[in-house]
């Protein structure tokens, strides 16, 4: 920790696909605190074409709000801090401003190697261009067709990388070698397109030498541990690490202006997803919490968590509430999106508005209609990403309750659509509707949009990262209590007896289908006795079983979500809108 001494003040920045934020961290009363934040448009695209321009602009905003000099007359960041107090001792940056890495996934068997390879692609900002399974289980014609499609796409629009796998360690070499030869033929024929395609081989260990002789000449071959060393074992770590490296090198590192930004930084630039994952792991380890975070960005939506010791991540590189709206619209459909609105919105009008946001993703909603439409899209982006996460890692072994989420202690929301919602209740409702947590958990927001940067900061200054995270990193919305089960509309689903720390008590009965908010201010705690009706489970794995627990307060208090799991919206348009209006009213909206 010696190197930390005197390492302050510090700037931390996140360059998102549309917004760049820079924050100043310094000692206040012996403790590291977040002092100021500057925010501007990300300047990767024309006419700026220089990521550092936006960072410099955000730093200038901090200069103005704090009356500190951080940039030289030439616009260079002053590092280290000078005796006159100008400058900072370091800058730490996270970014997801680069476009996704285009990857072709090539393996042998759909349900084995290909599935594991696809899981590995969830680790960072990746667009899967082709999926090839030599034996797709359906027909050899289908397999042959997917190989030909991959070859054709490689010739026309070469991927940035091929993720190749197949076979268990010590198994037959020939099948994976055959498919490697198909890849080699395609890459060799497309080599006139300039540069070599990266190939990450994560298959049968015994095939490495042969793979090297087939692909070593026509690609930048990287060999990592087999993603499926045995039929029952999955080992994604090495493949994920290599894909993350590739994204950083081939995409983040090639963003215009990256060189200048890198020259200012004190640590390697991390992706926003990596920064957030580090924070979650830290929280889980330190407080023994099961956590789940959803980051809804303009281009991508990221779900990450640590549940019962298993950490997982799903970066949905195309689903977002700006650039990524088209994908949400294509996959979810307009009807599913509009079902979350408490008012009628003409489908054409909604479609036009969504496309306009996609064309100008940096814009912010000015009217309530626009806010609610964007939040509806956020719900669907989260739902789509959670579906993928559930199919790949977010179903802890032993939990076989369909779409239900494993119980977690903390749900963390981030992204401007949540953190900048005009009312905190709107953010809470998006999280409850889209994630549908079960049992008792804390809802919080990364309201300062700083957590990924703190994850990156932890590598050079863990004390500062921990102190800012603790003091400024979260905004607690409150405690959500969500019994699972189905009841009769209006019948009591849950009885609560709340004992506040001043000794006062409050008894509440919440009917099935209702959302109810019980006041409990930020910083306060209360003891809550929960008595569910016989057909409801409060997260104990047994219907009707009650419990007493201590809960935290927050901006909203205790939110009892007795709408049942899975949440089913009324099919009738008018009834559904009335219900949503009722839920919103309960949250003060």
């Amino acid at each position: 920790m010696e190197e930390e001494i005197g390492f302050e003040p510090i700037l931390v920045a996140d360059c998102g696909s549309t917004t760049t934020r820079v924050s100043l961290i310094d000692l206040v009363g012996g403790e590291f605190r977040l002092l100021a934040t500057g925010e501007t448009a990300t300047t990767v695209e024309a006419p700026w074409s220089r990521i550092s321009t936006g960072v410099r602009e955000a730093v200038r905003q901090i200069e103005q709000s704090t009356a500190r000099m951080l940039l030289s007359g030439q616009g260079e960041l002053i590092v280290p801090e000078r005796e006159d107090g100008s400058g900072v001792d370091g800058l730490v940056v996270t970014s997801n401003a680069a476009v996704p890495l285009r990857v072709a996934v090539v393996g042998l068997i759909s349900g084995l190697s290909v599935e594991s390879l696809l899981k590995a692609t969830d680790c960072t900002y990746i667009a899967v261009q082709n999926v090839v399974a030599r034996d797709d289980g359906a027909s050899s014609a289908a397999a042959e067709s997917s190989i030909l499609e991959m070859v054709r796409d490689t010739l026309l629009n070469r991927p940035d990388a091929v993720l190749l796998g197949g076979g268990i360690d010590g198994g037959a070499v020939v099948p994976v070698l055959e498919i490697a030869r198909d890849v080699a033929a395609a890459l060799d024929a497309s080599s006139a397109g300039g540069g070599r395609v990266h190939v990450v081989f994560a298959g049968n260990r015994e095939a490495r030498t042969n793979i090297a002789s087939e692909l070593g000449e026509c690609s930048n071959l990287r060999v990592v541990d087999n993603v499926r060393p045995t039929l029952n074992e999955e080992n994604l770590g090495a493949a994920e690490a290599e894909l993350r490296n590739l994204y950083r090198d081939a995409k983040v590192g090639r963003v215009p202006g990256f060189g200048e930004l890198k020259s200012w930084t004190s640590a390697p630039i991390m992706t926003t997803a990596e920064g957030l994952e580090l924070v979650l792991r830290y929280l889980s380890r330190l407080y023994q919490l099961d956590t789940l975070a959803v980051d809804v960005g303009s281009a991508a939506t990221h779900v990450a968590g640590v549940v019962r010791g298993h950490s997982g991540t799903t970066v949905n590189a195309h689903a977002g509430v700006g650039y990524g709206l088209g994908d949400v619209l294509d996959r979810a459909g307009l009807d599913r999106l509009l079902r979350w609105l408490p008012f009628e919105l003409d489908a054409e009008d909604a479609h036009n508005r969504i496309l306009n946001k996609m064309l100008r993703p940096m814009t912010v909603p000015e009217t309530l209609d626009e806010v609610l439409l964007e939040q509806a899209a956020a719900r669907e982006a989260i739902i789509l990403t959670l579906q993928r996460a559930r199919s790949r890692w977010l179903s802890v072994q032993g939990d076989h309750r369909g779409d239900q989420l494993p119980p977690v202690d903390l749900i963390l929301g981030r992204g401007a659509v949540l953190a900048r919602a005009p009312h905190r209740g709107q953010a809470a409702l998006v999280l409850l509707d889209a994630i549908q947590p079960a049992g008792v958990c804390t809802l919080a927001l990364d309201h300062s949009s700083i957590l990924p940067q703190l994850g990156a900061l932890a590598s050079v200054h863990p004390l500062a990262a921990a102190q800012v995270m603790w003091r400024d990193g979260f905004l607690k919305l409150g405690t959500a209590i969500a019994p699972t089960g189905v009841g009769r509309e209006g019948s009591v689903a849950l009885k609560l007896k709340i004992e506040y720390d001043d000794g006062q008590t409050l008894s509440v009965e919440v009917p099935y289908g209702a959302l109810e908010v019980v006041p409990l201010m930020t910083g306060k705690r209360a003891v809550v006795e929960l008595r569910p009706a016989s057909q409801f489970d409060i997260g104990l794995g047994k219907k009707g079983k009650g419990a007493t627990t201590e809960v935290d307060g927050g901006e909203l208090g205790i939110i009892v979500d007795a709408r049942g799991r899975p949440l089913t919206l009324p099919g009738d348009d008018q009834k559904r809108r009335a219900k949503i209006t009722e839920w919103m009213a309960e949250l003060g909206l």
Binding site: S17, E39, A41, T43, V44, E45, A46, P47, W48, G54, E57, R60, Q61, A98, V99, I147, L148, V151, L155, L156, A180, R181, D182, A184, A185, A186, D188, A189, S190, A192, G193, E214, C218, V255, A299, Y323, E348, D349, H351, N352, R353, I354, L355, N356, K357, L359, R360, M362, T363, V364, P365, E366, T367, L368, E370, V371, R420, A421, P422, H423
Partner: protein, 358 residues
Amino acid sequence: MPYHPFVTRVVPNMVMRRERMLPIRGEVMVGTGSRVRPTEIIARAVTSGETHLLKVARALALDGTDLSPYLRVSVGDSIEEGDVLAAGSGASRLFGRSYRSPVTGLVVGISSGRVLIQAGSSPLELAAHYRGAVINVMAGLGAIIEVKGALIQAIWGSDKEGFGVLKLMIDDPAEPLYPEAIDMSCRGTVLVVPSSVDDEILHRAEEVEVQGMVVGSLDARLMSVVESLQYPVVVTEGMGLLPISAPVFDLLTAYEGQEASIRGAMEGRGGVARPEIVIYASYAGGDAELEARPEFLLEAGSRVRIVRGPHMGETGTVTGFPSYPGTLLSGGKAEGVEMRLASGEEVFVAQANVELFG
């Protein structure tokens, strides 16, 4: 406070450079310094239909994947169905055995015991699309053309290109266009429709063979119709019912009757291409502006248009920057600008929702 806003270039006289690239490797037919016309073919390539991955080594039961001793064709060869691709000869252990191509096509790759053939090839020609001078040639790939003219950037376009004389269809952006106004006098022109269009107008324009269409806005449900048309359509404002904004309309009006290149292609995130109209006209107002500028800042006096919210589509001038975030109609807060609309009304708009004309 300065801010880097979204910028739309609407410039009467500019020098710009445009890259013209083949999608696949081919032949470039112009040299550095050549003057080119928009319709002139500057590069050619051969595109293919189906791809065939022939596992020749396996079919010939070779021990390895090295086909070289047996090959009868090379990469780049055109072959007919039935032509021998590989065969043994003399004392070869493959004596008498051969592998014949199941298709007619072009050999595009030989590697790892496989022969890749692209069948059904057809020539692809790349037009200059712009009038200007070639300043750089990338062998086998394309060229960079330096162009002088007016530039108007649009926000959406269909992925096509056209060239023709600009023809203004209505004088007032508030007025609707009726399909019958599109007659044979429109043939070969680039139509400017300041308001929005409907299905009938789009098809009528196709019937008379226009070269392109510039519209203020488009209803989202017409996007698939537009994409199926032969000519490019570019949208200057956005989706819905928005007239072309005054600065864009004024420039188009000033250059009516001049030749223009219109391109609808757009490259999203991280890309540099926006749909655009380049107009070739002499300009007496001063030297041509360079496309790259050191700064585009949103400042008091900046000419902007509002791209979201209740005033979407309206234009005006920035009059001030409040020190603190303002409250929006939604109840949310945002850094904003004060601006005077063309109508004279003073409004507060979120900073992120104004777009600078530059």
